[in-house]
Symmetry: C2
Subunit: 239 residues, 2 copies
């Protein structure tokens, strides 16, 4: 009884999220909070490049990055870490499987997607020529592996028949990856016949209300990412 009371009081503590509209990481936390129906206050980090807010510096002094979830005054950093925390504190509408082996499989693929897809997209956005070509090849190979895994799974989502942790981890690709591919290569890479299952998954994810309603506008994000790209290329050219 006491445990239940503690758990209820923990769930009901104030939730704040420090985010940034143009980043693909805080949006994962927004999706998770909305899927669970958790009330929260969203605080936009207005000038992450030049002038970080005192609340951010105080809540994430080591990395100084968003997202930060502040729950009952306690900060939790790193988006994947936050998703696990949310799923443990608010255990309804489970995002992660409860079975330890299934959970380990899901965590393995989340790490794979972070290390391969996110890193490739990050490099592609700020490179051209040979460096870009090399990175595109790596992205294609990572997508080959993901395509095979998704095909073998034979499920609508990575989370099963409804959306789960791994879908939230990967769902940035439906907007950010597409824009980065177009800006850097002038063509789509992930959205081709080479990846039929990944494409079907992207379509299914895009059709989920909570996902699409919380994505930034494609036009605005394109303008912003083009600005970041041009700045990075100019800086490389000057070095």
């Amino acid at each position: 009884m006491l445990i239940l009371m503690i758990s209820i009081s923990m769930e009901n503590k104030e939730v704040k999220l420090l985010g940034l509209w143009s980043s693909p990481f805080p949006v994962r936390v927004i999706w998770a909070l909305k899927l669970k129906g958790i009330e929260y206050e969203y605080i936009e980090e207005k000038d992450l490049m030049q002038n970080k807010s005192p609340l951010l510096l105080q809540s994430n002094p080591v990395l100084k990055k968003v997202p930060v979830l502040i729950h009952g005054g306690k900060p939790i950093c790193e988006s994947l870490n936050i998703l696990e925390y949310i799923d443990e504190v608010w255990s309804h509408n489970r995002l992660l499987p409860e079975d330890p082996y299934e959970k380990a499989v899901v965590r393995f693929w989340a790490k794979f997607a972070e290390e391969k897809l996110v890193e490739s997209a990050r490099t592609m956005l700020t490179s051209e020529g040979e460096e870009l070509e090399k990175e595109v090849k790596q992205l294609e190979e990572a997508l080959d592996i993901l395509e095979k895994e998704m095909k073998d799974l034979k499920k609508k989502f990575f989370g099963g028949e409804s959306i789960g942790y791994l879908d939230l981890v990967l769902a940035w690709s439906v907007l950010w990856l597409e824009i980065i591919e177009e800006l850097s290569c002038g063509k789509k890479i992930s959205d081709t016949h080479r990846y039929p299952t990944f494409n079907r998954w992207m379509e299914d994810v895009k059709n989920i209300n909570i996902i699409k309603e919380n994505l930034p506008s494609k036009d605005q994000l394109t303008v912003y990412l083009l600005y970041v790209r041009n700045l990075a290329l100019a800086s490389k050219a000057n070095n």
Copy 2:
């Protein structure tokens, strides 16, 4: 009752570990299994560079790396992921805190240590000159942050008064980091007066029987890491 029976039968299934004596990652799993008193069969991956075993290729087809824990025929990959799995299946002698917030803090620092310390050590081992200097600076800054955190914690171990998950994640530093520092810089970096708390922690960790009895010999590892270093430097010089 049924749940208890399933859980017991899961715990008792056969455990195998694919490892490699010279790697700092499988040893984390060995430490965790020994701390929990779990019986297992250790299988050394004899020629990871040239000739990976069929069992490794079949159990970890994506990364083709050790460690792999095979539990009841099912493979789990990536050392941090394996530690979490072990702690969930064999829940006695907890490695991770049970409180979701404490757990999130521990996971944050594990990721930090992997991304900063492990990556710096990896680069230091295979670099010299300016590249080495830059990486040493990054290592020192990461150790500054860790020193502050450990000092503020005021606990004997990262896991509290007894050894836990974060200690196992960091404990490679008591042997591998020291050797890499000596081979690349000709001097100790982590083991100086700049990091008194980290050093006290290293001494405490080295004195735990399960840790020290399962470390490779310093002489053997030094010879091996020197070979890796010379090979990498020669390959860079030829490019």
